[in-house]
Amino acid sequence: MQKGRVIIAGHDLRTEPEKVRESIGIVFQELTLDRDMTVQEILEYHGRLYSMPKSQRQARVDELLSLVELEAKRNVLTRHLSGGMKRRLEIARGLMTRPNVLFMDEPTIGLDPQTRIRIWEYVQDINRQGTTIFLTTHYMDEADQLSDYISIVDHGQIIATGKPWELKNALGQDIIYLETSDNQGASNILEGLDTVRGVRDKSKGIIVMVNVDGTHLLPEIMEKLQKRGIKIRVVNLKKPSMDDVFVHYTGRELRDTGTEKTVVVKPGGR
């Protein structure tokens, strides 16, 4: 740690690092399973690392294998598991010690849609049972669906934090996309309207964020532009998504540069 202070589950990382380690679980971004151990042994090993007593370990292994639906694979070496199964096993491992706080670093990356949805369900289950989850993701729909709070991180700095609807509302009620014969002119005209919160340039057109119901405002806007002799070629109207929120705050399209990340926080019930 370079500077600042970290307090997790009431323990200061600087003064009580051991306590912090005991209260957290981690699901790493890359798979970190020993290929040469069985599913059960992976969980056993983890429980032993945290000095869990044997009876508790066994009960927990049974419970978690049923949660992530891997009972049938109990004695299978992890090298023989599919990608989704490995991920589920890692999630189970992260939960082995019943951590107060679980960190998940892009847990659904590279998974098929079905497995992804399944993992979302586990995450929500776990959260309901009282574990606070910090989840980083590049998938904005994932962030939107799962989180109670979202922080957008750009170049290592948190640039926006809020509940999903708060972040989306900050962009206005609706988003209108226009391609016209004179984008600059259109943008100047629309920025003057009270009902328009802001206008942003895109490569071929403009994005208009509006404060009111877009379905009613759109005909009005089109009429105004046509009166000034601006031809409209393309029109699109939509509700702001988390993708729009991300682009709005980071000022660029989503791409995997590794510098931007969304942190999703789901506080647990306890």
Binding site: E18, R21, E22, I26, F28, E30, L31, T32, L33, D34, D36, M37, E41, Y45, H46, R48, L49, Y50, S51, R93
Partner: protein, 278 residues
């Protein structure tokens, strides 16, 4: 007391017995050394020394018996020096993150892996001894059951201290290195001087002074002498040379091995505090 080192030990032994090939080769290889190199060299030496007058008044043992102890020591050296490789793989494949982010004190990783290398060395030594006795290695000749038992305990103590020392060295290298190839090269380079400046295969008495000095500080020499002391005796002759090794010298050798293990442990511990997980 935190028993975390047993967890590390459990995992390493699990992998050791799981991989039949690894288990099999690690047991057969030293036996083959004894069977091929031992028997071949033994025939040569015995013929060369047949004309030499026997040292009067002391028991003469054949070359096979002489290098029996050497092969046990050599196997322990190799097993222990390569024993740390698992840590390098764990580090490179991200497996070590789990262990390092757990509350387990890092020292337990070193101790756990050390104990498993020690166990492997014990198993190998036992196999070589049994195999050697079948081939005609004359260990424990004329010993009573109690003497054999005491000797076995003595040999185990020597092998234990020695294997811990080299495992700690290996762990320190593994945690510092980046690539398995690099580690392989470093360890192969290390085994040479240890092996050839010892008295494992031939007597060290007739070495030139520099080599002899190296041989005296070489832990492998101390292990070999210790095993010979317990398995053959304190006064014997082989290939026409008389060996005496007093109880005091045996104790000194053992202390030397303990000191070596302690220094290596401290180095390994220091290297482990430098490890960070990203």
């Amino acid at each position: 007391m935190h028993k975390g080192f047993l967890t590390i030990y459990w995992r390493d032994m699990l992998r050791f017995v799981r991989f039949r090939t690894l288990l099999f080769t690690s047991l057969v290889q030293p036996a083959l050394w004894l069977a091929f190199f031992g028997v071949a060299m033994s025939n040569n030496f015995d013929r060369l020394t047949a004309t030499m007058p026997a040292v009067p008044g002391v028991r003469a043992v054949g070359y096979l018996t002489f290098i029996g102890a050497g092969v046990i020591a050599m196997t322990t050296l190799f097993t222990s020096l390569f024993g740390g490789t698992v840590l390098l793989f764990d580090k490179n494949w991200g497996l070590m993150r789990e262990t390092l982010s757990s509350p387990l004190p890092r020292i337990h990783i070193i101790v756990g892996i050390g104990l498993s290398a020690m166990t492997k060395s014990f198993i190998q030594a036992a196999v070589i001894m049994v195999f050697g006795l079948l081939l005609g290695v004359k260990f424990f000749e004329g010993y009573t059951a109690t003497q054999v038992l005491i000797s076995l305990i003595g040999i185990a103590l020597f092998i234990g201290a020695f294997s811990l020392g080299f495992l700690f060295l290996s762990a320190a290298i593994a945690i510092t290195m980046e690539s398995p190839e690099g580690m392989q090269a470093v360890i192969t380079l290390l085994t040479m001087p240890f092996f050839f400046t010892s008295n494992a295969l031939y007597p060290a008495n007739s070495f030139p002074p520099v080599l002899r000095a190296l041989s005296t500080i070489n832990p492998l020499t101390h292990l070999v002498s210790g095993i010979r002391y317990f398995a053959i005796g304190s006064d014997f002759s082989s290939i026409g040379i008389r060996y005496t090794y007093t109880q005091g010298e045996a104790v000194t050798s053992f202390i030397a091995l303990l000191i070596f293990a302690t220094i290596m442990f401290l180095i390994a511990r220091w290297r482990f505090t430098k490890v960070t997980v990203t």
